[in-house]
């Protein structure tokens, strides 16, 4: 009986089955969808061909090989106006990555602090954090970027104020200058033998981590609590300092100094970078704070109580019990916040920070008029970055995922 009803009769294929038979219907749908898509794309392309022909233009990426003709202020790699548009775009890409990287780090720190403090039982602190989070979450990031850039420009002194006998501004420790063109900090000068000092430093960092691991292991195995704070600090600093003097102080500092129009020497962290970095970190930090808060609140209260019953102190409960569990909930939204920050960094043009939108999508586009080519390249770059970040983060996410079953 069941055989006859379950198995469809082996009739010959009829055209109407394409619509009425569920086995074939999905094929029909997909075919129509694919056809529609192809027609749509063909339509777009043919429009573009006709339009470009009417205007006598073409699509060509040859402009990338031509000299750019403009200068870029922040150059992670050397760049002059005689270099090509391609190199200019690459400088922009590096600048985007710099601000995105810095922004992600500070936003995470800010976000975790604000998220944890918002749950604090200290009324003033929690309310202050609530105000911060709400203010930054509910106002467009573009407005924040503009406001913070304005604050920087207006409230910090110009290099001119450092000049003369009645200077209105002074340098901090004669080493740091906070101006509205940026912050000038001493730059290290690498003498001979500095490599050994750096290596020593790297080794001592590794040694410190190893020691802390060892201390944890001892704690778990024997229950003996080794001191970690002071030994860590000692391992961190002492060998490097010793080596520094043994090698005859090979690393010097190049202090910024007011010469001519500007501070010369040292490292300049540009005002536009700082403004963008700050604005993006504060904005994204507010969102991360909410994610952190939600992650912590999602951990059942029983965990806190159990940890308390074991006699752990409150900050240990947070560090050892709550945060590790909350992290699993926090990480996925955190990834999308990193992506958002990277994408929002394209607003750099509002403050004149030369990221890839400013070089390739800005000046190059303006000067060459190659709109289609430049915008397509720009989108491709952001797409690659987004996919890259989500790929890396997914790997990490899988690594920390709760191994159930």
């Amino acid at each position: 009986m069941s055989n006859t009803t379950d198995l469809p009769p082996q009739t010959s294929f009829k055209l109407s089955m394409l619509i009425n038979d569920t086995r074939y219907r999905s094929l029909t749908f997909q075919f129509i969808a694919l056809l529609g898509l192809c027609f749509f794309i063909a339509w777009l392309i043919s429009n573009a061909v006709v339009n470009l022909e009417n205007l006598g233009q073409d699509i060509s990426y040859r402009f990338l090989g031509n000299p750019a003709g403009y200068d870029i202020n922040q150059q992670p790699i050397s760049f002059s106006s005689q270099d090509t548009h391609l190199r200019a775009a690459f400088v922009g890409v590096l600048n985007t990555l710099i601000v995105a990287f810095l922004g992600c780090i500070t936003a995470t720190i800010l976000g975790v602090f604000a998220g944890v403090l918002r749950l604090s039982n200290n009324w003033v602190v929690s309310k202050l954090m609530a105000v911060y989070v709400e203010a930054f979450r509910n106002v467009p990031v573009l407005i924040w970027i503009l406001i913070i850039f304005s604050i920087m420009t207006v409230s910090l002194p110009g290099p001119r104020s450092f000049r003369g006998d009645n200077a209105t501004a002074t340098m901090l420790f004669d080493a740091f200058a906070f101006t509205n063109r940026g912050v000038y900090v001493p730059a290290p000068v690498w003498g001979s033998g500095s490599l050994i000092v750096v290596l020593t430093f790297v080794l001592s960092v590794i040694a410190m981590i190893a020691y802390r691991r060892y201390a944890t292991k001892v704690l778990y195995d024997t229950g003996r609590l080794l001191p970690t704070l002071w030994p860590s600090i000692a391992i961190f600093f002492l060998p490097t300092i010793l080596m520094f003097f043994i090698m005859g102080r090979p690393i010097g500092l190049d202090y910024p100094e007011l010469r001519g129009f500007n501070f010369q020497g040292g490292i300049q962290v540009r005002g536009s970078l700082i403004a963008l970095w700050f604005a993006l970190s504060l904005y994204t930090g507010a969102f991360i704070a909410e994610n952190v808060r939600a992650g912590i609140m999602a951990i059942s209260k029983g965990q806190t109580e159990a940890a308390g019953a074991l006699g752990l102190r409150p900050n240990r409960i947070m560090n050892l019990v709550i945060l590790p569990q909350a992290l699993r909930i926090i990480i996925p939204p955190l990834i999308s916040q990193y992506l958002n920050l990277t994408k929002n960094s394209s607003l750099a043009i509002a403050v004149g920070y030369m990221d890839v939108t400013g070089t390739l999508g800005g000046i190059t586009l303006n000067q060459t008029g190659r709109a289609i080519e430049a915008v397509l390249l720009l989108m491709l770059f952001y797409l690659l970055i987004s996919l890259g970040i989500s790929a890396i983060m997914n790997v990490y996410n899988n690594a920390v995922k709760l191994k159930e079953r």
């Binding site: 403009y70 106006s81 001119r160 063109r181 000046i363």
Partner: protein
Amino acid sequence: MKKTVFLGALTVAGLAAGASAAATLDDVKARGVLNCGVNTGLVGFAAPDADGVWGGFDVAVCRAVAAAVLSDANAVTFVPLTGKTRFTALAAGEIDMLARNTTWTFSRDNDLKFEFVGVNYYDGQGFMVPRELGVSSATELDGATVCIQTGTTTELNLADFFRSNNMSYDPVPIETNPEAQQQYLAGACDVYTTDASGLAATRANFENPGDHVVLPEIVSKEPLGPVVRHGDNEWGDIVRWTLNALISAEELGITSANIGELSGGSNNPEINRILGTEGELGAMIGLDGEWAKRALMVGGNYGEIFEANIGEATPIGLSRGLNAQWKDGGLLYSPPFR
């Protein structure tokens, strides 16, 4: 579902601009409105006032063309454009003409396929510095921080100037003029560079204009003029000769005050030809005989427009300089109306 009607409805509202291919004149006439691309806000050249009415030197050219073609100086839709969007908007047919202090350069003319119909302002790039810096020449600017507006030829000129003089500089690119001004006034840059006319306009806005000097060097040639698309010569001719009519009118002494009297007929044949009382010039460019008269009635001749918008009596206070008539030692030289 909702989408289709919304798009349909919005398209109705969206004043779909005419086809870009050819016959811009027919499109403009059919539409009854001239779409003119202007600056997003540069006092004296193109800026809306408190009531949202556009005014300025570039705007006056748009209005003159609208008056010549449509007999109505107010039949203009002003499309504010940035440095980035201006050429695409023109190429895509969103605007019929571009009057947005655009520099006539080789590559724009040939690579971007546009047609510069003439020059309505001869400009050049200059530098402004605070007086207290004690700089008297642009060659003393080695190592300075320079504010520039991005998306203009100034960026390229600046790079060329400093390179050819073997000097270094630190560019600070800014999106808009007000923001550049804020940076400059706060001392975030030592120098502000843009077209000399723009510098004058900016300086006029300052609390203490006297604290700032415009350096004598002009480092580039910036012939600014209206632009139309390549390939529609009839339309290009109309814009070109409207501009020429404004210039010729000043040379011949036609002003908004005496135009009524002169259009009754005068003993200067060229004036008669411009004002349409003699000859058939209007028909030759596809308009009626009084096209130039209408264009001149809007804001007067070139000199009157100049004085009203950016001249010495205005806060911007530009002198005629290169923009004087050729008879007075300037560069304005309209071909004859014949």
